[in-house]
């Protein structure tokens, strides 16, 4: 068992080249999966007996929600790795995650609102899921704000890493307290995102979309990662060669 593979991941020139090579391997499958999911979700899946065609919003709302949580977790884990083991590449990964996660959290909120209006009769409901999503958006914005406010990249990396770790510890607490709060106050019919026994025709496109968006995240992350790695390598000699191509 060699750890050299793992160590190489921490090497900026290696990661830079690897990221460039890997990007298409994530990007194209992502596009295919998303297209397949769209076809399955918009065309093939039968309408819901309760929500009619309106339920099809799930095929964009659920992936957005999934992305917002998954990206935050990725961000926090890589930030923690960077903080503990002082690996610049890990910090670069965390920095790359934030804008992606924030934008999809926003998409999740908007699609949630658009789903809410026909289903509940109102664009916004303070239900646990939407409220937690909103708070998550602020966690992202806080993270990005802190990074932007600190000029020195290394200090920004480490400070925002502490914030990300503190945030990720808080996310379950926040979610629990919001759910608890919501249950106290005559909660309206909670939007059921997925019926427990969703027929395959409905479920499969959803899974395709979830997987497709995940791969999309990986592709975008790899592109951003290269830029973030470059920004952290001020004087390294490998840059000269990498950049001239």
């Amino acid at each position: 068992m060699t750890w050299t593979w793992f160590h190489r991941l921490g090497s900026p020139p290696y990661i830079y080249a690897l990221a460039a090579r890997l990007t298409p391997w994530f990007a194209w499958p992502a596009a295919l999966l998303i297209l397949a999911g769209l076809w399955g979700g918009l065309v093939l899946a039968p309408p819901d007996y309760q929500q009619g065609e309106g339920f099809r919003i799930i095929y964009v709302h659920a992936p957005s929600g999934w992305m917002s949580m998954m990206v935050y977790t990725t961000m926090a884990i890589s930030a923690a790795i960077g903080l503990v083991w002082r690996i610049k590449v890990a910090h670069a990964v965390a920095a790359s995650c934030a804008p992606i996660g924030a934008s999809f959290t926003f998409a999740g909120l908007v699609t949630g609102a658009l789903w809410g209006q026909p289903m509940w009769g109102t664009y916004w409901e303070w239900d646990p899921r939407l409220t937690s999503e909103l708070i998550l958006l602020f966690l992202y914005l806080g993270y990005m704000g802190l990074r932007a406010a600190i000029e020195d990249t290394q200090r920004a990396d480490r400070a925002s890493a502490v914030l990300a770790v503190v945030g990720v510890v808080n996310v379950p607490i926040i979610h629990y307290s919001v759910t608890w709060w919501n249950s106290l106050h005559q909660a309206p019919s909670v939007m059921r995102l997925a019926r427990p026994n969703m027929p395959p025709a409905m479920l499969t496109p959803l899974l395709l979309m979830l997987l497709g968006f995940t791969l999309f995240f990986a592709a975008v992350l790899l592109v951003r990662l290269r830029g973030e790695v470059l920004n952290r390598e001020r004087t390294a000699s490998w840059i000269r060669e990498a950049v001239s191509t």
């Binding site: 918009l42 065309v43 309408p47 009619g52 065609e53 309106g54 099809r56 919003i57 964009v60 709302h61 992936p63 957005s64 804008p99 992606i100 934008s103 999809f104 926003f106 998409a107 908007v110 699609t111 658009l114 789903w115 209006q117 026909p118 999309f216 975008v220 592109v223 951003r224 290269r226 830029g227 973030e228 470059l230 920004n231 390598e233 001020r234 004087t235 840059i239 000269r240 950049v243």
Partner: protein, 54 residues
């Protein structure tokens, strides 16, 4: 086809939802590529100025 576009009456909600999501998808692609281009330009600029100094 028009049935499809009408989405059983929910068109005003379904299509904007998809539009927003894919706008975010497109935004991420553009944003990421621009960030990389900026970083490359910065790196080239840094190398150029250092080259002049040495």
């Amino acid at each position: 086809m028009s049935d499809f576009l009408a989405m059983g009456g929910y068109a005003a909600f379904v299509w904007p939802a998809y539009a927003v999501t894919f706008a975010v998808v497109a935004l991420n692609v553009v944003w990421a590529r621009r960030a990389l281009a900026r970083a490359l330009a910065e790196a080239r600029r840094r190398l150029a100025t250092r080259g002049e100094q040495s």
